[in-house]
Structures are given as structure tokens and as C-alpha cells.
Amino acid sequence: MNTKEKLKKILIEDLNLEELTPEDIDDNAPLFGEGLGLDSLDAVELVVIIQKHFGIEIKNMEEGREAFRSVEALAAYVDQRLATT
């Protein structure tokens, strides 16, 4: 399972998005607002999720801002962080 697929599965399970399947989530759709429909407090949850499942602590929130654009961006961020650790 690649990072994108894993992320989609985790988002659905940990954010209780039961009405969605991984196939429903567009790689490039915005995570917040239109798109996946997450709200600002889900960003807090997302930071926790990334740490819990990938052991990555987002220390610089500017990076987080970039990574939280879409599943595609988040997966790229996770892969890049895992590659440098």
C-alpha cells in the first residue's frame, strides 16, 4: 500500500469519515472546506494522526500548511520526511 492509499484509509478511520471510501477521495482535492470537507479543528487532529501513524512531528506549521493542501501534497510531505529520517 503506498502512502496516498494509507493516508486515505487513515483519514477515513481516524476522522470518522464513514460515508467515504478511499476511492471517493480525489488525490488533489482540498482537504479543508470544499473537497474532503474537513474543518479547522480537524487540522489539529491531522497533526496528531501524522505523528501517530508515521512518527512524524510537524514542527514547522508553514510546512504543515503546504502539506495540508491535498492528499497528494500530504503524501509527498510524509514520503519526503520519512526519506530524510
Partner: protein, 305 residues
Amino acid sequence: MSATSKPWSSRSIGSTWQHNVFYTLIRCGGKQAAYTLLLFVVLYYTLFRPEVRNRSRPYLKRRFPGRSSLPLLRDSYLLTLGIGRTLVDRAILGISGPDNINVSLEGTSMLAKLLAEGRGLILITAHVGCWQLAMSSLTALDTQVNLLIHREEGDLDRHFFEHGSDKPPYRIIDPAGYLGGTLEMLQVLKNRELLCIMGDRSMGSERSTVSVAFLGGSVKLPISPYKIASATGAPVAVIFPHRSKSGVYELQVAKIMRIPGNLGRSERAYLPFAREFITVLEAFVAENPYQFFNFYDMWAKQGEG
């Protein structure tokens, strides 16, 4: 935490020239002159501007149930005078300097100890006393103070530091910014800084609130302070500033809370903490009935108020 569709407004009821009259009076006549003028201005607003009475009525009717019209009019006067005094004090601090306003912080060592844990510190306060002014005393803790606050376009009353060229004693995080300022809040806690959040007003998103009992009715409180504390492990202190006498403010630590980690996404998980907060807030308004400054119907169901 979108700042849209909120039932309250941060805009002053006074016009630009009215604010400027007070600023000029403080500069030329001193603080007593400003306090004296305020008595008459508030009397005028209470008697002849029904919208001022209407804005204070939801709170006063619950704080003083069963009061008849005349005592309620007096309560409305005292409550409006209360906020007027804090605004004047804020201007005095900005114009005449810190020697003219005394802000004391009780529990400094307790807060310093919490900060020393290295996870930042969340201070939850409410629209009571002169909270902005009291925040200035937090500089004693020797760390960056960050304040989550939304200012509307057209806000006329200035922060005290805006009267001069002083550097703001706190950094403002706008909840109307990207993701409601959430990432900035997480960042300041990672930097082991202080984060001050208002615990008594939600910014409009229904999902980010829980209903709790307050003064005999149900109000919606934001869960964001508790959720952020749960995610970061930051300790939480509830602090309330109150005006104890003319030109003197006391900032007291009312409660320390520890929010367990991994509480998840459900709002209900944060309900016990919102209840703890509202309990201490209710005790505060019991002691300081004319220092609670939420001039809108907190109890109205969404869409009514």
C-alpha cells in the same frame, strides 16, 4: 472556526469622534476628567439608546432573574459603565503610560511552573474585566504572549499600545485566518509560548462547540482550547481579570486543567472541560456581575440571536 455567521460584534457603539473626545480628554484633562464624562455618556446611552439596553438585557435578565424594569435599567447602566471604564482604562494605559494603571497577576509562579513543563501554556479567559489590558501583565512570564482575537473592519476602539509607538506586548492570531489560526496556535505551543483563547465565545462553527448550562440556560462554548490542549499536551489555566477599584486590575488563576491526550474528534469528549470552565465563569459573574461583557444573546439558538 470560521468567523462568519457569528451572533456578536466587536464594533464599538461609539463613533470615531466620540472616541477621540475621550482620548483628547485623557491627554489634556487627565483620567478623572475622562471617568467623569463617562458617567454622563453612559447615562445618555442607557436612557436614550434602546439598542444599548437591548444588548445587555439577555445577560442581565439571567443574572438577575425576576428584576423589574427600573432595577434592570440601573443594572444596564452599571454594566455599560463597567465596559466604559475598562475602555477608558485601556486608553489611559496607552496614552499616559503604565504608571497610571496597575495590573497585578496573582499566581505568576504557578504559571511559570506550568510553562517550565516545556509544552507551552494555554490560558483560557473570557470577555470579563479588561482582558486585553490584563494580558499585558503576562510579559512578567518572560515568554511570547499570543492572543487569539478577531477584529472587525471598522473597529474604532484601539488596543492600548496603538495609542503610541510601543511594540504590542502580545502577538495577535486572527481566527478568521487560514484554518482558523489553528496551525499558528499549534506552532506557538511547540515554541513553548503562551496562547490566550477566549473560552466564552465560539467563532461560528456549530461542530466546534458544545452546549453547557450557564445562568439557567444553555450556551454554546468552543471546544478548540481543549482540543488543542489534548493534541499538544499543553497545560491549561483559566484566568479572569477583574477591575478591583479605579485603575486597578487583578488577574487571578481560577483553575488549572489537564486535558488527556487522544480524545479524538467527537465534541462530546471535550464537554467535561467546557463544563469546568463555565462553572468557574459562573462563580466569577456571581462576584462581579457588572464585569461580564458579552453584549448579545448567548442563550439564543443559532439563527435566533
